[in-house]
Symmetry: C2
Subunit: 354 residues, 2 copies
């Protein structure tokens, strides 16, 4: 029995990116909407879909508060969609943006948000080429929500990357999917985890951590294309809702491999660690908006790490673990020397994180 | 001075598809987000944009009530986006769907909506291949909003249509844009106007018209591709928010031609006419979701009309007017024999119509 049977109302957990949402999708939505002949279909539940060589992605943003340390809903909406298109290996070609505003929303705030979106587009080198604006009556919407969708296409860097992978082992997929990981592949994270979630939570609840923790939201498409020029990357994913724990469990499940993590290698900013300890939250379950996890053939792991560390977006990158055939699921070797299973989170511990 | 200077708050009119929204877009959004090298860029403000031969479109749906005679927010969200992709001449290739739900939303209603969306997809022969679900706390959103975006591509029917047009006159554009109308072109509407708006209004306010007026929301992509096989079509548009009045004024302005309408030729269902008279609303300003206006070279107008009338979606089609160089704007010859200027509506008279 899924959550749809146990409960006849939608709960916050249905939108939190974890196991409850996955049950909703797998038990109902895929049955109704699946069955396309897309190259990467809905059923793959990957970061983006692909049809006729065109990558398509869509995400709605309901983040609260709409302004937070390190960004706002406009910059986040552009970064998030750019990154989801990029992690399958594509170059973002164009974005579409749908804005829904609450009647009475301050025009100056709307302008700030659009300007941030425009600035983030320039950083990513992509344009919003279409969109629409709707307004709902006062009290019908909490301020503003934004949907950003977009398309992307293959690049020469992606082809090069796949050629390099195939010097070391077989790889059927033409894209960097969740299902591509194989035992022995190294797993790299491009920087510190948990920054976005703690920044949002802190700004919302006024804990004061925001003085030291900023959201990491930023477009990573340029960084990703440069990594593909190095080559050897089999899979890539941005650990948003449900954080590293959710992303790695998706890899493990879809690739049919175990993931062994080294806790001491996972970069966590001091302010994030302190906030998590105080709030009783696992930093591995918290959303990131400017980080990727990278699965890479072991022979190329050092080269990819070196390339990452040379870039500002990747300077805190680390190899945090590897794929294995010795067990299923995600297991972490903790700093004291024990082992801990990292289960798929029920949902993101922080609601309306993105 | 635009509305942004006169008023520092967003009003319902900013989302109503009329002149207030156009001012907001032209005076602010285009300056921030414009400047792409898209084939049909944001600045065209057309039904969809085109980049590298790929048509991209996005629309958010906030319709109230979410269930109405003739459809619901799910079927509407699919039809609307399919139609906006189709009216530039493309065949919809795939859709992406972002759903935002209010916490506590009945699961059964959500299922009904997804099933309707799936059914409409089957009718259109297109799939939703990606999407996401977000949930906002109870009281933060009025039930559910949906964003549907999608991509489309050129077809052989479109190429044929353009070849036929060019047998009669020059046409530079590769797509059926708002700016393509030329003096002498005939204007056809594919059926009765105002059905969607009156159905929504009636369902919302309980006027009782809903017993006779149903929303016309339906996907028109198959009908449109069949019309392109006839050929001679220069421009096509779906008259949604702001209705026929808004759509024709956009054509007039962007094409730099006048539009002369014959009131007696415009098909209006009896129930819609009665409702409009009672409520003091102009049926020409009311949204449609299953109709298109078609600009066609005069020599092919009869052929296109005949083809339309053979199809269920177009059986009430009529030639309602023509483009002219004798004046600017939209003018209607009224049934009593006078002339009336049809100005661009300030906004749609019915809020949250789609």
């Amino acid at each position: 029995m899924g959550p749809m049977d146990r409960n006849d109302r939608i709960t916050m957990a249905h939108g939190a990116g974890g196991s409850v949402m996955r049950e909703l999708i797998q038990e109902f939505i895929l049955k109704e909407l699946g069955g396309s002949k897309a190259e990467v279909p809905l059923e793959a539940l990957d970061d983006a879909s692909v049809i006729d060589g065109i990558v398509l992605h869509s995400d709605s943003y309901t983040v609260k508060p709409i302004f937070f340390p390190g960004g706002n809903i406009g910059s986040l909406a552009v970064s998030g969609t750019v990154n989801d298109i990029s992690v399958v290996g594509a170059k973002p070609l164009a974005l579409a943006c749908g804005v829904i505003l609450e009647e009475g929303f301050p025009t100056e705030d709307f302008k700030r948000i659009v300007r941030s979106a425009a600035e983030t587009c320039r950083e990513a080198g992509v344009h919003i080429i279409t969109g629409d604006t709707k307004v709902m009556e006062k009290g019908s919407l909490d301020r503003i929500v934004i949907n950003t969708s977009g398309i992307g296409t293959r690049t020469e860097a992606l082809e090069h990357n796949l050629r390099v992978v195939r010097e070391y082992r077989e790889m059927e997929s033409q894209w960097l999917l969740d299902s591509n990981l194989r035992p022995g592949d190294k797993i790299i994270v491009s920087g510190t985890v948990g920054d976005h979630g703690i920044a949002i939570l802190s700004a919302r609840e006024g804990y004061g951590f925001e003085t030291e923790v900023k959201s990491d939201a930023r477009p990573l498409n340029r960084m990703i294309q440069r990594l593909l020029e190095v080559g050897g990357i089999v899979s890539m994913k941005d650990p948003t809702r449900g954080g590293l724990a959710n992303a790695l469990n998706e890899w493990s499940e879809k690739s049919g491999v175990g993931v062994l993590l080294q806790e001491e290698r996972i970069p966590v900013r001091e302010g994030v660690r302190a906030a998590c300890e105080m709030l009783g939250i696992d930093p591995l379950e918290i959303a990131n908006e400017g980080k990727v996890i990278i699965g890479v053939v072991p022979e190329l792991a050092d080269d990819v790490l070196t390339a990452l560390k040379r870039m500002e977006e990747g300077r805190d990158a680390e190899v945090i673990g590897e794929a294995t055939s010795e067990f299923g699921g995600v297991v972490m070797e903790t700093s004291p020397g024990g082992k801990r299973i990292i289960p798929p989170p029920y949902g993101d511990p922080v609601p309306r994180i993105c």
